[in-house]
C-alpha cells in the first residue's frame, strides 16, 4: 500500500523471492484483498526452486499482458484480424516489438536498429515491450497487425497467447546475422502481405558479406569455434559462424532448456550433439574436449576460455558492464552484422602474426600464443589448451620426447586438436608410444 501511495503506478506486480516462497505468505492473495485505488494487480507464481530468470521474465510479461488485456478479449469464434487490414484502413502496417528488456543482450540498440530497418520498408512500430512500455502501452498491443518475437526466451509465451486469443500473427525469425535478417524480412513481408522488396538480398545492406569474402578473411576458413549462450543467440551465432564467416562450429550449447528442441535441431544440421546444461563445469569440459580456436559465449565462457588460453567473444547474457557499451552496438539487423564481424574476429590472432609465429618460433617477443594487437604481453602461464585434460593420453599411451617436441612446433591454437587427433590415431592403431612419425601419420590421416 505504501508503494502504491508513494509511486502511484498504473499497475502493481506482487511476487515472492526464494525465501518468501518457503514462508508462504501468499502476498498475491493479500494484495487482492487490499484497496489499491482500482489499479490492476498481477499476482506472480514464480517457482524459484525449479525455474530461472528468463522463465520468470517470460511468465511475468505474460501474466501482465494477460491481466491487462482481459477486458479486450474478443468473443470466442470471432474472426482473426487480417494482418493486411492496414491496406483497407489506408495506413502503414504496424507491428509490436516484443521481448526487449533491461539486462538483455544489446536490447537498447537492437530496438533502434529494427525500428530503422522497418521504417525503411514503410512499417511502423506500435508498441515496444517490455522495454520502455507503460501498462497503458500494453493495452495497445492488439491494435498492431503482427507481433515480432525478437527475444523468444522472454516473449515466446506472450506471442503464442496473443496468437491464440487475439489471432495476432507472429514473426518468429530472430534477425541476427545477414541470412536471418533477410529471412526475417521475408517472413514479415509475407505476414503483412507486402510485396517483397527487390533489393532484399543485395549484399549492400551490410559490410559483413564483403568483409567475409575479401581475401583478408581467407584465414578464417575452418577456424574451430565453440558456441554457448541463450538458445536464440547461440542458434543465430552458429548460423553466422558456419555460413557467413566460414568457421567450423565444433560445439553448440545453451542453458535455455525451454528452447532445447530448436537448439538440438540447429546442432544436428551442423552434425553436432547440442549441449543443454547450466553447469559451467560441463561447458568448460566440453570446450576443452572440442579444442576450439575461438569461443563465442557468455561472460562465464570468458573465464573458461581464459583458463584454457582460447580467444573469446561475448554473444549472450549473462553479461557484465562492458557489454552494455556507450556506443551503438546492436546485434540484430544489418548494422548488427557489422558489429558481429568486428567483435568476433578481433580476439583472433591476425593473419600476418599467425603466419610469422607459425614460421619462426625462436623470437624473444613474439612467442607462442602472443597476440600483439591486443597489447598483451607474452602469456604468463603456458596456455597449453589441454592442461585440463591431463589424462587424455591415458590408456597406456605416452608421448616420446621427440613426439612432444614435434607437437610443440604446431601453432598453439590448433595444437590441442592435433594432440587429440594424434592420440586417437595412436589408440586406433594400438600404438603405445607417440613419436614424431606418429604425429605426421596422424596429420596425414586427418588431413581435411
Amino acid at each position: 500500500a505504501d508503494a502504491v501511495q508513494r509511486f502511484q503506478p498504473e499497475a502493481l506486480l506482487v511476487g515472492e523471492s526464494c525465501t518468501a516462497e518457503l514462508i508462504q505468505d501468499q502476498p498475491g492473495a493479500l494484495a487482492a484483498g487490499m484497496d489499491l485505488g482500482g489499479i490492476p494487480m498481477v499476482s506472480l507464481e514464480l517457482p524459484a526452486y525449479s525455474k530461472k530468470e528468463n522463465w520468470g521474465a517470460a511468465e511475468t510479461f505474460y501474466q501482465l499482458v494477460r491481466g491487462l488485456l482481459k477486458p479486450q478479449l474478443p468473443a470466442p469464434g470471432s474472426p482473426r484480424p487480417d494482418p493486411s487490414r492496414w491496406r483497407a484502413e489506408g495506413r502503414r502496417p504496424r507491428v509490436n516489438l516484443l521481448g526487449p528488456s533491461l539486462l538483455g543482450f544489446r536490447c537498447r540498440d537492437d530496438v533502434r536498429e529494427i525500428r530503422q530497418l522497418l521504417d525503411g520498408y514503410g512499417i511502423d512500430v506500435a508498441v515496444v515491450a517490455p522495454l520502455g512500455a507503460r501498462p497503458a502501452d500494453l493495452l495497445r498491443i492488439p491494435a498492431a497487425d503482427a507481433n515480432l518475437n525478437l527475444y523468444p526466451e522472454l516473449a515466446g509465451t506472450v506471442c503464442s497467447w496473443l496468437e491464440r486469443q487475439f489471432g495476432m500473427a507472429t514473426v518468429n525469425t530472430v534477425p541476427i546475422g545477414i541470412g536471418a535478417t533477410v529471412a526475417f524480412l521475408r517472413e514479415l513481408h509475407g505476414v503483412l502481405d507486402l510485396p517483397l522488396p527487390a533489393d532484399l538480398e543485395a549484399e549492400g545492406h551490410s559490410r559483413l558479406p564483403w568483409y567475409s569474402r575479401s581475401v583478408d578473411s581467407t584465414y578464417l576458413t575452418g577456424k574451430r569455434v565453440f558456441i554457448f549462450g541463450d538458445a536464440s543467440h547461440a542458434i543465430a551465432a552458429a548460423r553466422i559462424a558456419s555460413r557467413e564467416l566460414g568457421f567450423a562450429v565444433v560445439g553448440l550449447g545453451s542453458y535455455s532448456r525451454e528452447q532445447a528442441r530448436e537448439l538440438r535441431a540447429a546442432a544436428k544440421e551442423l552434425g553436432l550433439e547440442a549441449l543443454i546444461t547450466d553447469d559451467y563445469l560441463a561447458v568448460e569440459a566440453a570446450m576443452a574436449e572440442a579444442a576450439p580456436e575461438l569461443v563465442l559465449g557468455t561472460q562465464m565462457e570468458r573465464h573458461s576460455a581464459k583458463r584454457l588460453g582460447i580467444p573469446c567473444a561475448v554473444i549472450s547474457t549473462p553479461l557484465h558492464v562492458q557489454d552494455v557499451p556507450a556506443r551503438y552496438a546492436p546485434q540484430m539487423g544489418f548494422e548488427g552484422a557489422n558489429v558481429i564481424f568486428d567483435t568476433w574476429v578481433h580476439p583472433l590472432m591476425m593473419g600476418l602474426e599467425e603466419h610469422l609465429i607459425g614460421m619462426f618460433r625462436h623470437d624473444f617477443e613474439f612467442v607462442d600464443g602472443h597476440r600483439s594487437h591486443l597489447g598483451d604481453g607474452p602469456p604468463a602461464a603456458a596456455p597449453e589448451p589441454m592442461a585440463v585434460a591431463p589424462a587424455a593420453a591415458g590408456g597406456g599411451l605416452s608421448w616420446s620426447t621427440d613426439g612432444e617436441a614435434e607437437l610443440a612446433k604446431i601453432p598453439f591454437f590448433v595444437r590441442g586438436k592435433v594432440r587429440r587427433n594424434t592420440e586417437r590415431y595412436a589408440r586406433e592403431r594400438g600404438l603405445e608410444l607417440i613419436d614424431s612419425e606418429a604425429l605426421y601419420e596422424a596429420k596425414a590421416h586427418f588431413s581435411r
Partner: protein, 420 residues
C-alpha cells in the same frame, strides 16, 4: 618419377614491360626480422618506404622495433655530407637504445640509390665507429632494382663475406625456411646419412655457417640467384634440383642432395618412400578440390613456376599463364623441364595487358598480390594472395598437403559462404 617435358616443348615466354603491380625488395624485412631477431633493418629512404614497412608489418605491435627508416630530408638531398652525418647520428642513437642488436642492415631504397648515397661506404664507416659491438651491412631493397623476395637475395649476399671459410664437407640449405620445416628437413638428411647440414640465413645473425670447397649448395628458394652465385664464388658446388614444393619436388630435391653425398638410391627410397606415400594420401582431399580447375599466376615472388609445377602435376590443375617477375633459366632448368608441354610463361609485367588476358580467360583461381586480390574477388574471380606463400611452412614432403590447402581454401570458402 615421371619424366618431364623437354624445355623446348614450352612456347617462348611472353616478355613484358609496362605498369607493374609488385612489391619492392624492402618487404623482405617483414620475414627476415623474425628469422634473425638479433638483427635490425634500417631503411635509408623516404617517408614512402617508412609507410610501406609500417603498413606491411605494422599490424603487429612491437615492444621493441626491429626495423625503422632513416628518412631523407631536404637538407640531405642538398648535400650528401649532411646525409652521412645524419645517418651516423641516427645509428648511434639506435644502438644506444638497443644494445642487444648484433647486426645492422642498412637497406637501400629508390631515393638512396637515385641520389647515389653510398651505403656500402657508410656501412664501412659505421663498422669502424662501432667495432666489436655490431656488424653493419648493406643491401638494396629498392623498387628500381628488386622485386619482393629479391630483397632476401640481397640480404643473404650481404652476409656472405662474413661467413667463415671451411673446407669441410657439408650440405648448406639456402633460403628462409620455417623453423619446424628446417628441423624436419635436417633430421631427414641425418637419416639419409648426411651429417653436417647448415642453413643460411641462420636463426641468429651472428651464427653464420662456414662455406668453402666442401660445401654442397641446396637452394630451398628459387629467388636466390645472386646468393647462389656468390656462394659458388666462395668455392661451393651447386646441387641441381627442382625446388622442395610438393611430394615430387621435395623428394627430388632431397634425392639430389643425397646423390651429391653418395647416398645409395636404395637408402633414399627406404627413408623417403613411406613419406611420399603418406604425403600423397594427405594430398588427396585437396586434389579433389583443385583437379581440373584453371589457374592463372601473376608475377610476384618467383615461386610461381615451382608452384605451377606442383599444382599441375600433383593437384591436377590446368595452367592458363604462369607469370614470374624474373626468370633465371639456369636455376629454374629442372622446374621448367617438369612443366606440362605448352605452358605459357610470362616474365615481367604489363599489368593492364595481363589483366585483359586474365579477364578473357576467366580462370577458376588467380594467384596474385594483395593489390589485385580483392578487386578480382569483387569481379567474381577466386584469388589466392601470393604473399602468404613466403610466410607459410610449405617446403618438404610432409608439408605438401598444407601447401595444397592454401590453394584449395579460397575455393572451399567461396563454396561455404551463403548469406541468404
Amino acid at each position: 618419377m615421371a619424366t618431364g617435358t623437354a624445355v623446348e616443348a614450352l612456347p617462348p615466354p611472353l616478355k613484358e614491360s609496362g605498369q607493374r603491380e609488385v612489391f619492392c625488395g624492402l618487404t623482405s624485412i617483414v620475414w627476415l626480422h623474425r628469422r634473425m631477431p638479433d638483427a635490425f633493418f634500417l631503411v635509408v629512404g623516404s617517408r614512402t618506404c617508412a609507410h610501406l614497412i609500417q603498413s606491411a608489418a605494422g599490424v603487429m605491435i612491437f615492444a621493441e622495433p626491429r626495423f625503422g627508416t632513416a628518412i631523407l630530408g631536404e637538407r640531405d638531398l642538398a648535400g650528401l655530407a649532411d646525409a652521412n652525418e645524419e645517418l651516423d647520428r641516427l645509428v648511434a642513437q639506435l644502438l644506444a637504445r638497443r644494445p642487444e642488436i648484433r647486426t645492422l642492415f642498412l637497406v637501400g631504397s629508390c631515393p638512396s640509390e637515385v641520389i647515389k648515397l653510398d651505403l656500402a661506404k657508410a656501412a664501412e664507416r659505421l663498422n669502424r665507429q662501432h667495432t666489436g659491438r655490431v656488424t653493419v651491412l648493406n643491401y638494396s631493397g629498392s623498387g628500381i632494382e628488386t622485386t619482393f623476395t629479391q630483397g632476401e637475395d640481397g640480404a643473404l649476399q650481404a652476409l656472405i663475406p662474413l661467413m667463415p671459410r671451411s673446407e669441410q664437407s657439408q650440405l648448406l640449405i639456402v633460403g628462409t625456411l620455417a623453423d619446424a620445416v628446417e628441423d624436419r628437413l635436417v633430421s631427414l638428411f641425418h637419416r639419409l646419412g648426411i651429417e653436417r647440414v647448415a642453413s643460411l640465413p641462420p636463426r641468429r645473425s651472428t651464427e653464420l655457417p662456414a662455406v668453402g670447397p666442401g660445401t654442397q649448395l641446396l637452394l630451398a628458394q628459387p629467388f636466390l640467384s645472386g646468393t647462389a652465385r656468390a656462394l659458388l664464388d666462395r668455392g661451393a658446388t651447386l646441387i641441381r634440383a627442382p625446388y622442395p614444393f610438393g611430394v615430387e619436388g621435395s623428394r627430388a630435391w632431397m634425392a639430389a642432395a643425397a646423390a651429391a653425398f653418395g647416398v645409395p638410391p636404395a637408402q633414399v627410397a627406404e627413408v623417403l618412400d613411406p613419406l611420399v606415400e603418406r604425403g600423397r594420401r594427405a594430398l588427396a582431399p585437396h586434389r579433389d578440390t583443385l583437379a581440373g580447375k584453371r589457374l592463372f599466376l601473376m608475377p610476384d615472388s618467383q615461386l610461381e613456376i615451382p608452384l605451377a609445377r606442383f599444382l599441375s602435376r600433383e593437384c591436377g590443375m590446368d595452367l592458363v599463364e604462369v607469370g614470374t617477375p624474373y626468370l633465371d633459366r639456369q636455376l629454374m632448368a629442372e622446374e621448367l623441364a617438369l612443366l606440362p608441354a605448352g605452358t605459357q610463361l610470362s616474365e615481367g609485367q604489363h599489368v593492364d595487358n595481363q589483366l585483359a588476358r586474365l579477364r578473357a580467360a576467366r580462370p577458376d583461381l588467380v594467384v596474385c598480390g594483395l593489390g589485385l586480390a580483392n578487386p578480382l574477388e569483387a569481379e567474381g574471380m577466386a584469388t589466392k594472395w601470393s604473399i602468404e606463400l613466403v610466410f607459410s611452412p610449405i617446403h618438404g614432403i610432409d608439408q605438401a598437403a598444407d601447401l595444397a590447402e592454401l590453394f584449395a581454401r579460397p575455393l572451399r570458402r567461396r563454396a561455404a559462404l551463403a548469406f541468404v
